[in-house]
């Protein structure tokens, strides 16, 4: 229990912060990459046809949600441990649970955002070639969202079950 001793009595709190960092950080990073990918694709379309700005913007926004989900879980963890008021005493076990609760939305958010970005980039091709089929392009990209939402649900339920 060397690490335990090193971290002292605040070990639980550290772990909770790590959990929220994973949730908000990874999901946010994923979203950033996803949005970036769609941005590149949208740039290609706009170079040739600036009138398609609105449609491509919607597609670009899609991979951005994972970052919001991550931040949401982060906030919930922070409010549990009392970042916004006075710190609650978190035991080591509770800390581990909070860490675990942050992981699903972080990891799933990271990957789903990137792949949603790619799907949406392909969607930009559809917007370029067949503007009337934009809705379908969005549906394909939105399918990826399902798993981001599921991971959000998983994180949320886990978080709810922790009573400090």
């Amino acid at each position: 229990m060397n690490i335990m001793e090193m971290m002292g009595s605040n070990a639980g709190l550290y772990l909770a912060f790590l959990g929220s960092a994973i949730a908000a950080g990874l999901a946010g990073a994923g979203s950033a990459m996803g949005v970036g990918i769609v941005g590149m694709a949208a740039g290609g379309v706009i170079t040739e046809d600036p009138s398609k700005f609105g449609r491509t913007l919607v597609l670009q926004a899609l991979p951005g949600t994972q970052g919001i989900y991550g931040l949401l879980i982060g906030f919930l963890i922070w409010s549990k441990v009392g970042v916004f008021g006075t710190f609650v005493n978190v035991t080591f076990e509770q800390g581990l649970m909070l860490l675990a609760a942050g992981i699903p939305v972080g990891i799933v958010g990271f990957f789903s955002a990137i792949y949603q970005g790619k799907a949406a980039a392909t969607g930009c091709s559809i917007v370029a070639k067949r503007p009337e089929e934009t809705a379908k392009a969005m549906v394909y990209a939105a399918m990826v969202e399902t798993y981001a939402v599921l991971s959000l649900l998983a994180s949320f339920l886990m978080l709810n079950s922790i009573n400090l």
Partner: protein, 333 residues
């Protein structure tokens, strides 16, 4: 090469594909009563800009080469692997080299035949040819040019220039493709070479030349090797049909050769070859991100130029609409 790098260029290509000529526009051009009407149809397309510079109907050829030049310039700018685009541009360099070599042997000036589309400026090429200094060129081409200079001093045969430079062209093309490790491009070059070899084989037979000559013109980088053709040299052309029955080319071969035997004209075969290559690049339509859509777009654009040229030549010479249609290549879109 990471396909992410293609995201920008491919979506841009998708937007550009919308501006390619569609079947109805081409039909209208074929139905046009005179060349002026064809130009009028072009005014409604992405060609409007370049068409407006046409003063005389005969200028359409310059308009087309300008359009091709612009296409390559744009594609090369946005392609993540511009060296792959050189596979398409090389043939223009080789064309310039042929013109310059022949001009230098003839002591003539034929600068109006040079094109700006290639990878090296014609002015620089001219300088190199004048000084017979080829070290800045691809080693393969350098060797080819030196071979020409040597053989011409013994036996001045203009055909040798073309034959050697053509071989250099396809050798360098397949080298670039292989170095890129892009299997799509490697295959693309090999298909081209095979079709050219088959075409040359038939023509060599028709001209009545033997194996020696075939060996001289043969391009080695294809899937079918020299021995394949040598075995068929003494047989009637039909034999290719059986020999290539199970290959990818069976359609091109059987229809093309049937037509050749009937009419003694390779027109159909050449049209089918073009269509076959275009078909291959049409795969680009279903690949999300990669070089394929870009290649597809280049081929579509070159094909468009061919279509417009056929229609214009047809209209200027009062050829029947049906004959023009027969000669038109498939459309990419």
């Amino acid at each position: 090469m990471n396909e992410d790098n293609y995201i920008y260029s491919v979506t841009r290509i998708r937007a550009l594909e919308n501006k390619l000529l569609d079947k109805s526009k081409i039909d209208r051009m074929v139905e046009a009563k005179n060349p002026e009407e064809v130009i009028k149809v072009l005014y409604e397309t992405s060609y409007a800009g370049s068409v407006s510079e046409i003063k005389d109907i005969g200028d359409y050829e310059e308009m087309l080469s300008k359009e091709i030049e612009n296409t390559y310039k744009m594609v090369k700018e946005m392609a993540p692997e511009p060296e792959l685009i050189d596979i398409f541009l090389l043939k223009y360099d080789i064309h310039n080299l042929k013109v310059l070599m022949k001009s230098s042997f003839l002591n003539e000036d034929n600068d109006d035949l040079l094109t700006n589309i290639g990878t090296i400026e014609p002015v620089k090429l001219k300088e190199m040819i004048r000084e017979k200094n080829f070290i800045f060129l691809d080693p393969e081409i350098k060797r080819g040019l030196e071979e020409i200079v040597n053989s011409f001093s013994i036996n001045p045969d203009p055909q040798v220039i073309d034959i050697i430079l053509d071989r250099c062209l396809y050798t360098v093309m397949s080298q670039i493709a292989k170095n890129s490790n892009n299997s799509f491009m490697v295959e693309f070059v090999r298909l081209q070479i095979d079709l050219i070899n088959i075409n040359m084989f038939i023509r060599v037979k028709a001209m009545g030349y033997g194996r020696e000559f075939l060996k001289k013109v043969f391009i080695n980088e294809g899937r079918l090797d020299y021995n394949f053709f040598v075995d068929a040299m003494d047989e009637p052309v039909d034999i290719l049909k059986d020999k290539l029955l199970i290959s990818d080319y069976s359609n091109v071969i059987s229809e093309g050769i049937d037509n050749y035997i009937k009419t003694k004209s390779l027109m159909k075969f050449e049209k089918l070859s073009d269509d076959f290559l275009l078909d291959y690049t049409k795969k680009g339509k279903y690949v999300a991100f990669g070089i394929e859509p870009i290649v597809g777009y280049i081929m579509a654009k070159e094909n468009e130029a061919k279509i417009i040229r056929i229609i214009m030549v047809g209209k200027i010479n009062n050829i029947d609409n049906e004959l023009i249609r027969e000669r038109l290549r498939d459309v990419y879109v």
